[in-house]
């Protein structure tokens, strides 16, 4: 097979679309793809202020898993994982999806209890999960230091064997190519600056390429969602923070699973190409600067070396940051907004990549029907008023 010169057209916007998606990252592209594939809606534009998938889609650490604690989260992330399992075939593109197993380490009795509880909760929800003691952790991942004399000894871990990583660029390109083939216009260098709202209904977006009318407008703008929503007069329970990650120089294969530790505050995997990919927690302050402080990287490296003394002489090649939108309960916000015809998909915080297909699937349904997909319903904006929060801080405060 010869590789095509271009995977998608690069069109200028038409004056009007049935659906305008604001944000050409993973979630926006997946939403466009499923709008076309599942609902036959192809008069769609994806507006991206930069280049396709150049925001958080290019900056994440590609960890995929579905071992969340609460039923609502398990359902949506497991739906996503099941989609991942068929996505390379479906998109006819090797996403390098590798189900190499995800370990979440426990370093104290609290972690152990929480981990065992999570394993049980996962199994009740049909999500594969196992509890490993320290010896089993060592067998599964020999390069981890499980010595009792470690500063943060490894007392066990949860393991989701179906979890793993994928190649983020391939995911974006594959979704973009298919969406484009359905006739979706992927429009780059087109920044949305405001909305035209008539009688409480959003009818058009104002952009750097002029006015574009829309039957429905769907935000998929991650860290910049608050700024856009404010243009529509909506205040959201989101705070934007830098989330840093880094890669090492290229190494021979040394780590064949994903290792995460909330207590020590780091997560590590080795990309197909050979670099170690590491991420940690957010920089604490609000920011749109796409950069963070070096002491956060330093703390993350200290944590990594605690777990992997073997990496002590590995050099850091590159660090960067993306802007993540964090919600009060560390769960996403998906659904309608107080403005008719304006939809929101945000708040995925530090863990949006794994949700890419699942998020696109439920968001496309929500947009197409004007009613939330059953898996998205618990993640509605009004849960902060009703109090029906989905508190995933235990699973998601640090990582992912």
């Amino acid at each position: 097979m010869t590789h095509p010169d271009f995977l998608w057209r690069n069109p200028e916007p038409r004056p009007a679309y049935d659906v305008v998606i604001v944000g050409g990252g993973g979630h926006g592209l997946a939403t466009a793809y499923y709008l076309a594939r599942n609902h036959g809606i192809t008069n769609v534009a994806v507006l991206e202020k930069g280049w396709l998938a150049g925001g958080n889609m290019a900056r994440n650490t590609t960890v995929i898993r579905s071992n969340y604690l609460w039923d609502e989260s398990a359902a949506i992330y497991e739906h996503s994982l099941k989609l991942w399992e068929g996505l390379s075939d479906e998109l006819d593109y090797d996403l390098q999806f590798s189900q190499r197993g995800v370990l979440n380490l426990a370093h104290n009795l609290g972690d152990v209890r929480e981990g065992r509880r999570r394993v049980n909760a996962n199994r009740l929800n049909g999500v594969d999960a196992e509890w490993l003691d320290a010896d089993e952790v060592k067998k599964f991942c020999p390069v981890i230091n499980v010595s009792e004399r470690a500063r943060y000894p490894v007392m066990g871990a949860t393991l989701q064997r179906r979890g793993g990583i994928a190649k983020h660029d391939h995911v974006a390109w594959a979704l973009a190519r298919k969406a484009d083939a359905y006739g979706v216009d992927l429009i780059q260098g087109c920044e949305v600056t405001g909305f035209e709202i008539t009688d409480g209904r959003a009818v058009a977006v104002r952009t750097s390429k002029g006015r574009i009318a829309a039957g429905k407008i769907a935000l998929a703008s991650a860290g910049h969602t608050s700024v856009l929503a404010a243009e529509a007069g909506i205040r959201l329970p989101l705070q934007s923070h830098p989330l840093q990650a880094l890669v090492s120089e290229l190494l021979e294969p040394v780590l064949d699973c994903v290792v995460m530790s909330n207590a020590v505050h780091v997560y590590v995997s080795q990309a197909h190409k050979g670099e170690l990919v590491m991420g940690a927690g957010i920089d604490p302050y609000n920011s749109y600067g796409q950069r963070g402080a070096f002491h956060v990287i330093e703390a993350q490296m200290a944590a990594a070396l605690e777990l992997f003394p073997i990496f002590s002489r590995v050099r850091v090649l590159r660090t960067w940051a993306g802007i993540v939108d964090v919600s009060p309960d560390a769960s996403p916000i998906v659904g309608r907004t107080p403005v008719e015809g304006l939809y929101i998909n945000a708040g995925w915080g530090t863990g949006g990549f794994k949700a890419t297909p699942g998020s696109g699937w439920v968001y496309a349904h929500t947009i197409a029907h004007g009613e939330p997909h059953p898996l998205a319903e618990p993640f509605a904006l009004d849960r902060f008023t009703t109090g029906a929060l989905i508190d995933e801080h235990g699973a998601a405060a640090v990582a992912h």
Partner: protein, 80 residues
């Protein structure tokens, strides 16, 4: 790393401080509606630009204070 000026200790490294989020959020009485209560508990401004915010000099003199910081450039100026 940012250099943050503590009103008591002067300019100090960012990692001596803890972030306190938006400044000027006043406590609400209990006879509020669910919407108002949700707003008080969960809604904070999240601007791209100047932001009036709290910092705590936790590893220093333990003073709470407010600054204005630009959320894109990270430039800090004293709160008016």
């Amino acid at each position: 790393m940012m250099l943050i000026e503590c009103p008591h200790c002067g300019p100090r490294d960012e990692n001596e401080f803890r972030y306190g989020g938006q400044a000027g959020v006043s406590y609400r009485p209990e006879d509020t509606s669910d919407e108002e209560w949700a707003g008080y508990v969960f809604l904070r401004d999240n601007p791209k630009g100047w932001f009036h915010e709290r910092w705590f000099h936790v590893h220093g003199c333990r003073t709470w204070f407010s600054v204005e910081r630009h959320t894109l450039t990270h430039e800090i100026r004293k709160a008016p």
